[in-house]
Symmetry: C2
Subunit: 89 residues, 2 copies
């Protein structure tokens, strides 16, 4: 549905060889519609924890939120231009 | 590949009607194999942030980690037996 695990078309371009991607998909299947705002909250928190482990430019984050009656979904795509060292700790 | 968004077969059972599910999929497409341990770290941190927003029993969490040469994937499935009120704050 989201093309999960699709390879980007520029994958074979040597200039792109060092590109690193992290894709995060969330699906929330709920019975209580009052809880429909869970995914935007998780979006913020998850981006925060990703930033603990890798350098992420705001420009490099693409987010899609879809809300349905019973199910909401959130897609977060993060591109890291080249492998950045993780901060210690 | 992971059957994302699949409905559980017991969905139509009225005893299961209040069941709430959260499915989180992560795919890490990397060039630097030294970074292969990112997903287990994110697994821990993401479960922590989910617990800020909903009550999660350890029994209700199913985790699958797959490691490939260039891509690793992590699937986290969380089932909440019935809609629990979110803790305030």
């Amino acid at each position: 549905m989201f093309g999960f695990f699709r390879k980007p078309p520029q994958q074979n371009n040597s200039a792109q060889a060092a590109k690193e991607r992290l894709q995060i998909l969330l699906a929330h299947d709920r019975s209580d519609r009052a809880r429909s705002d869970l995914l935007p909250l998780l979006q913020r928190d998850i981006l925060e924890v990703v930033r603990r482990h890798m350098r992420v430019d705001s420009d490099a984050v693409e987010i899609k939120l879809e809300r349905g009656d019973d199910m909401s979904s959130l897609e977060i795509n993060i591109e890291v231009p080249d492998a950045q060292p993780r901060p210690a700790g």
